[in-house]
Amino acid sequence: MKDALLEVRDLRTVFETRAGRICAVDGVSVAVRRGECLGIVGESGSGKSVTFASVMGLVKAPGRIESGTIVFDGRDLRGLSPRQMRAVRGRDIAMTMQDALTALNPALSVGEQIAEVLEAHDETLPARGAARRKAIRKASIEMLGLVGIPSAETRLRQYPHEFSGGMRQRIMIAIALACRPKLLIADEPTTALDVTIQAQVLELISDIRAKLGMSVALITHDLGVVAEHCDRVMVMYAGQVVEEGPTTEVIGAPKHPYTQGLLASIPRPALRGQPIHPIEGQVPDLIGLAPQCRFYSRCTQRREACLAPVEMRAAGPAHNARCILIGGDEE
């Protein structure tokens, strides 16, 4: 993809555990274009977070990236030394985490937690001394203002527990955006929040994206959020991408039975009185998976051919899905 900011190809990340080998990310290819918002949806454990932790080089033991390429802005991230990778993290690619309460260090003031990213990455700052400190302070206040936290001067001295959940999420966003990254990975930024606050935060991310012209990878399991905020969407299931494409297409005309089932199982006031059709069964265990369609056991349209490995197929100009029903060449 020519305007891709981030291009991940055939990523495979595994965890060696006592119980066995977990292939958490199994041949995932993903591209995030400049300026776009890509939504990543999938059930818990489908590999959304691990995929992007791999991108950030943050997969910790017992996990490791087994294969695949990760190219960011023309650079191969997998080839970088840990030191070089640290320079990329926080400056070029930033990340927010699901639970702001646990992601902000409870023992450090909010000011310090913002300042240290600037300290680590911002080369435009004066070299040292009071001027540097002043510049950092000014930039911190500016960031808090950007995410809509009033009276930033006093707030900088406070600790995370002195903020509400929504404010913490904004602070985390402020920290992530402090160095104006090119890509923001927002890992379930709103799951822990109430709807009214969730709306505020999502809107904030959209606003800032527009303002700074950055790309966003928005991880969520709420299809509603994707529908409202993302340009494109990628659906993951059991470590694999099962469908990807423009949001309107994927939600309007899903091609993969899983995506279809997912959409059908959302309870909606519109469906009052009618039975919903949940996807039966549950996500398969990632240990010792057979090389077959991962959705096989739950699929209402499964057939013999699904027992062979299934590749992604084009379902439209920019719309792909991993199902043999696509393209009519079903046996």
């Binding site: 950030m56 943050l58 910790k60 640290r86 320079a87 990329v88 993290r89 926080g90 400056r91 930033a94 990340m95 985490m97 699901q98 639970d99 646990t102 992601a103 902000l104 260090n105 409870p106 023992a107 450090l108 003031s109 240290e116 990213v117 680590a120 990455h121 600790y159 527990h161 985390m172 920290i175």
Partner: protein, 335 residues
């Protein structure tokens, strides 16, 4: 911290100290053995003389009355007179305290200074050879009976190798004026480096014997809590921010990991203070622990009661200090 919380803390001391007093008093009172008899030993005494002695020691009053006298006096820091020293118990204890406190503090500092870096290192290099050695070493540390280990060290370093002195706090060539009672400080105040070195040499073996189990415990606690903290989201987030490894480890992780270390250290320091009579016995260290044990055997009631109260107060104060430290390490906790 609010004043009312502070007062509350102090108020909490009252039932504890009262309880400790009651137990200490009844324990001593119920213990068979008569201080007067012990004092007289084999020597001749008439019944009147014995009664007189008993009266002078205040032992001729009924037990309940004695208890209330003891309580009443305690409230204005009068702990009575030591039966054998014939001086106020407070003075006798005060003379022995610096030695005990100095030894305990040095053991504590040594323990913290070794345990924390080792624990952090073991956590970072989890499952490495270093980690394994540190783990086994720390288990060994808590498993060594101090009284035996102390003797071994003494035999090795003092008797066979002549590297360190056998007993006492300082040699006699190095006389320094007593300012604080803490020889490490006094020698420095006097500017006498030779005396300081001498005091340090005397401290080494007792401090190791006393501090080793604590080092071991603190190391394990630090390692465990460090591992726990390293798993936390905020550490991942700090990594995601691209901070240097050092900053992530020490500023983000260690500050949080120290919280359990501090509370365990507080409890363990209490047991250092109260448990060092063994080390004091082995190394002839002129501290309070030995005095208290001797006093129990000699039925020196006032001294035992006062010393036990002292330990209890120290224990509560240590925990208080730990609480204060918490607030530094963990802003969520407010006193």
């Amino acid at each position: 911290m609010s004043l009312s919380k502070l007062l509350e803390r102090i108020a909490q001391l009252v039932p504890v100290l009262l309880g400790v007093s009651v137990i200490a008093f009844t324990m001593m009172a119920l213990t068979p053995g008569d201080p007067v008899q012990i004092m007289i030993g084999d020597q001749a005494i008439t019944a009147e003389q014995e009664a007189q002695l008993r009266h002078d020691m205040g032992l001729d009053r009924p037990m309940v009355e004695r208890f209330f006298i003891f309580l009443g006096n305690t409230t204005h820091f009068d702990f009575g007179e030591s039966f054998y020293h014939k001086r106020p118990v407070a003075d006798v204890i005060a003379e022995r305290l610096p030695a005990t406190i100095e030894l305990s503090l040095v053991a504590l500092v040594v323990a913290l200074a070794t345990a924390i870096p080792l624990g952090v290192l073991a956590a970072i290099k989890k499952n490495s050879i270093f980690d394994r050695i540190a783990t086994v070493g720390s288990l060994l540390g808590v498993s060594l009976p101090g009284f035996w280990f102390g003797i071994l060290l003494l035999m090795l370093f003092a008797v066979h190798l002549h590297l360190l002195p056998v007993s006492g706090r300082i040699g006699f060539d190095s006389e320094v004026p007593s300012v604080t009672g803490f020889l490490l400080i006094d020698t420095l105040v006097a500017g006498n480096m030779k005396a300081f070195g001498d005091a340090v040499a005397h401290l080494i073996l007792p401090a190791i014997t006393l501090g080793l189990p604590m080092t071991a415990i603190l190391m394990r606690v630090t390692r465990t809590s460090m591992l726990e903290v390293l798993r936390q989201d905020y550490v991942t987030f700090a990594d995601a921010k691209g901070l240097s490894r050092r900053r992530v480890l020490f500023r983000h992780a260690l500050k949080n990991a120290l919280i359990p270390t501090v509370s365990v250290a507080a409890i363990e320091t209490g047991s250092l203070l109260g448990g060092n009579m063994i080390v004091e016995t082995v190394y002839g260290w002129p501290g309070l622990g030995r005095l208290v044990v001797e006093s129990i055997f000699l039925r020196n009631y006032p001294l035992v009661q006062a010393a036990v109260l002292f330990y209890a107060v120290t224990y509560v104060l240590l925990n208080f200090v730990a609480d204060l430290l918490y607030t530094v390490l963990n802003p969520r906790v407010k006193l």
